[in-house]
Symmetry: C2
């Protein structure tokens, strides 16, 4: 039987989770919904987020036939997982508990660092999930990282690729483009503040959790900066990868993955507002074109 898996995010960052899922369960049918008309969820109240997320979950289950839901959004996972589980009669998995479980498996000292958006940090969902598995977590909001990813100021970002193409006739240069150096310097500043705060609290962190679905695109740069700052001993845990791994276990328990697929695998993407930015940026998160994105209306 071909599993039908619904993946939900307030925007398109959750496509990093979808990417990890598609790599692990290539024969499944996927429906991805980005509630782009109402993003960002981070500035909204818990009640409003729960209502929006429940509407989105019902769309994926009732209208798209999803038999399993992955909440590929840290804010919705932090604030609305219970509400979504109440709203639909299928298994629902968030990104935070898998991230904490992966950190538990990786950490020897029991002290972990978490970087995330302002909203996720203020919810303290990672601290709670880490504490539940016997870890001490120090969280830090890094609000510049999402806009830097969306601007494409990454080593392989489109801005950089375009600059490199323009400069193709010039002699090759060793230094990274200035845009990438900005992103590296921002990471360096945030990381130094986080490590200093950990030292002040007498923590000995050996693990860093990426608590935002945009951050996997920063991972190569982050690891370069950490190595340069003498922190290459700190292991990076990607919540997107951890959630995909946990989803495979749950899907395995429910479906016979060894059976031949009964229907063609595939991907349908839906958004609640302008699909242009979704189509333009989505491929960067997914690693290949998202194809046509369908505009839907979830109401108020």
């Amino acid at each position: 039987m071909t599993p039908a898996i619904g993946v939900f995010d307030s925007g398109f960052g959750g496509l990093t989770v979808l990417r990890a899922l598609m790599a692990r369960i290539p024969h499944a049918q996927f429906a991805f919904l980005g509630d782009t008309a109402r993003l960002p969820y981070g500035s909204k109240s818990r009640r409003t987020i729960a209502r929006y997320a429940a509407q989105s979950a019902r769309f994926l289950v009732q209208e798209q036939g999803a038999q399993f839901l992955v909440i590929a959004c840290n804010t919705a996972s932090a604030l609305a997982l219970d509400a979504i589980q109440d709203a639909v009669p299928v298994p629902v998995l968030g990104v935070i508990q898998p991230g904490a479980a992966a950190a538990r498996a990786a950490s020897h000292t029991g002290d972990v660092l978490v970087i995330a958006t302002d909203a996720t940090v203020h919810s303290h969902a990672y601290s709670a999930a880490c504490q539940a598995v016997g870890l001490r977590a120090l969280e830090k909001a890094c609000p510049l990282l999402v806009p830097l990813v969306e601007e494409g100021w990454l080593e392989d970002g489109p801005t950089i690729a375009a600059s490199a193409a323009q400069a193709a006739s010039a002699p090759p240069q060793e230094a990274a483009p200035p845009q990438v150096e900005v992103t590296a310097e921002v990471i360096r500043i945030y990381l130094a503040e986080l490590i200093a705060e950990a030292a002040a609290q007498e923590l000995t962190p050996d693990t860093l959790v990426l608590g935002c679905t945009h951050y996997p695109l920063l991972r190569p740069l982050l690891e370069r900066v950490m190595a340069g700052a003498g922190h290459s001993g700190i292991r990076v845990i990607d919540s997107a990868e951890a959630a995909a791994e946990a989803a495979v276990q749950l899907v395995n328990a429910q479906f016979s993955l060894s059976a031949a697929p009964a229907a063609a695998p595939g991907l349908c993407c839906f958004a609640t507002d302008s699909v242009e930015k979704f189509e333009r940026l989505g491929s960067r998160f997914l690693g290949h074109p998202v194809g046509k994105v369908e505009l839907i209306d979830l109401g108020g």
Copy 2:
């Protein structure tokens, strides 16, 4: 007679416009509304923005008694000025036409540069307003600047002030803190791209319009970067200042400003969602504490 002036923004960046207004009309009564529950307007459709902005305008006029409205939001000015004017029976002023008029007064070459958010640039409202006064405008979206301002990575930002206080016992240093250097480098990159694009289009710009209410806080740094890049001949026009100047003219025409105030001047601030960030960041934009912010509900 004391004029009652309503000032509206989707967030709190419009407090830079309010600041300029309060400096020019110190005896007026001001009511400021930030529709923080529904920000950012930039990702929403014209119809939705018009509906939200009209609701906000009615609140200021019908419930707060505003006799004059300033739309201190570039997106709402670009996409909803007509809808707001239809919704309320008082004069309504946006920020875009005053910005274009000030650029017209400043420019000798007739070519101007405009930096703004993605949404404002995509609306091409500045291009249209500049064209209407005989200017050619080249617009550029600078999506990293708002988060840099909100993060406080400015010369006199609170992050920097805190770092300076921590380092008070260390010997004084010449170089700016690394956070400020990041912001300077981002400005340098955007400016270089904009100047290169102007040259490619054979424009000779002598004026730069700040088309976002967050940007006045970057002005000292922007002017330093421009001087360092040999562009000190380009004059900076602040739409917030230009709108305040235009508002004074209109208020003068309607009220007798020389008369003694009939009621105590003052400021009331309202927001539609969590007032905490508003109170925390607002003082940076206003230049002094915003005082108590009242939470209101405008409905759907």
